[in-house]
């Protein structure tokens, strides 16, 4: 009995130590949204991690170029990027070769060299916004995320992401037109989702999503918001890089009949 009481006291005391929990922190600032910190191999090599900002890159290239043609994984730590790979023209080195963009990992020397510090930035180092404010100023506003409506920006040719990387991409025909279709939610009263293949293939092509993220024929698997918030299904992109699912009405847009 005494043991039970002591155990109960311990459990309660432990519970009281739980922190305030989620919901109280500020939203990720627009310039930080889409930042992926590449640190798995960096920490093994004892160099500072690389905070990779998506906004800077998606203005220039579609998702497909990097995630299909160049071969980056869709999750941090999934690609296994090494300095040697970059130096040989793979991964970051596919563009960061000193010609298309500044060279990455080109000097096999001490990581303390200034050139390395352009990408390998310690988390505590003060950072400017990298030109985000100037970049975003004239682009159509979006809710949450980067605060940019990327879809509209691309449609209006305000950003012109290239879908082809010389020497890497394969010349492909364009995808045949696909029709939009509706997806119904489980909760009565939530507007239907109008899913547009066209809007997605502009950025991702086919193999960006199929079958890695969406495995089966539509309708065969029910994806719930739980799945999405845990990073599966739409959440593979729409939690941390594409407009976040916080913007409910962006997807739930069709009035319920």
């Amino acid at each position: 009995m005494k043991r039970v009481i002591a155990l109960a006291v311990l459990v309660l005391a432990g519970a009281a130590h739980a922190d305030d929990g989620p919901g109280r922190k500020r939203r990720t600032p627009p310039q930080e949204y889409g930042r992926v910190v590449l640190e798995a191999n960096a920490s093994k090599a004892k160099v500072a991690p690389v905070p990779f900002d998506h906004w800077l890159h998606r203005a220039r290239y579609t998702c497909r170029v990097c995630h299909v043609d160049v071969g980056f994984a869709m999750t941090p730590g999934g690609t296994d990027i090494r300095a040697a790979d970059n130096a040989k023209g793979q991964y970051c080195g596919a563009c960061h070769d000193g010609r298309t963009a500044f060279a990455a990992c080109s000097v096999r020397a001490s990581p303390a060299q200034p050139a390395c510090a352009r990408c390998h930035v310690p988390p505590t180092a003060p950072r400017g916004d990298g030109g985000f404010a100037a970049f975003a100023r004239d682009l159509p506003r979006g809710r949450f995320g980067n605060g940019i409506d990327w879809e509209k920006a691309e449609a209006e040719r305000l950003v012109k992401p290239s879908d082809f990387l010389e020497g890497v991409s394969i010349r492909r025909t364009s995808i045949a037109a696909q029709k939009d279709f509706a997806l119904s939610g489980k909760i009565a009263g939530m507007p239907d989702i109008i899913f547009s293949h066209a809007k997605h293939t502009v950025w991702s092509g086919c193999e960006g999503c199929h079958p890695e993220i969406f495995k089966v024929k539509r309708g065969a698997t029910r994806f719930t918001m739980v799945d999405i918030f845990e990073g599966r299904s739409c959440g593979a992109c729409h939690l941390t890089v594409a407009f976040p699912v916080l913007d409910c009405q962006r997807c739930h847009s069709k009035p319920v009949q």
Partner: protein, 272 residues
Amino acid sequence: MRAGLALGAAALLAATAARGADGPAASPQRAGAVRHGRVLLDNFSTLVGVPAVAFDHATHRARTTCRACHADVGFALKAGETRVSAASNEAGEHCGACHDGKARGDGSVVFRACSGWPQADPARGCTRCHAGAEPGAVPGLAALERTLPLDEDGGIDWGAAQRRGLVNPADAVEGVSVKRTTMRLDRDVTIQARGTWLENVTFSHRKHALWNGCELCHPDIFPVTRRAAVRFRMADIRAGRSCGVCHLNVAFSIDACHRCHPREGRGPGALR
């Protein structure tokens, strides 16, 4: 074994007591330190030598929904988390999203925040906001308390004020918010009360969504989880989680039990 367990329990209790004294879980108004609805903003103020800002929600709630500031502008739901600075205000973020000195569509002008920082001179008006933890009379607050309905605890009953059309808070911030269709979700959720002396809570989405939209609560405060996995515990609420994120210090206080657990009978009819 027993001695070890008892020692461990004693140590944890001591640590908990120490933490409870000044930890963030302590509800401010219970300590009597801060007026209900007031939040002290002091990430940088005292560091740079100006008094802290005592922000009163009331004067802002009358004009703007919770969502517009906390979702669109991006303020955190906890003091000290947003890291408002003169620089961010001058850049048009945070307070500067509205307090930019420019004329609005209706001709009104919202005074500029942190104007001219870092050359600001306290004599020029920083003390309008930077007045310390006890600012005395807050401009506009007394007028609101005179004209708006009050609840039993003497605070403004915002729900009643909105229903009677006495306040019409805007759900958008000019230049920041992006227009979206309004989603109407009128689902009420019944939350079972564990204590037999309490009525169940009928949570009204409509009443909350009016101020918060969806995104303020979901999924950060109320995760989207499998059915019945979310628990509403008074311990969590008093610790500043769950309903306590808002209802400890800004929305009506959880000390008014009957506001959620109706006194007479069950169902929404028993709520005010």
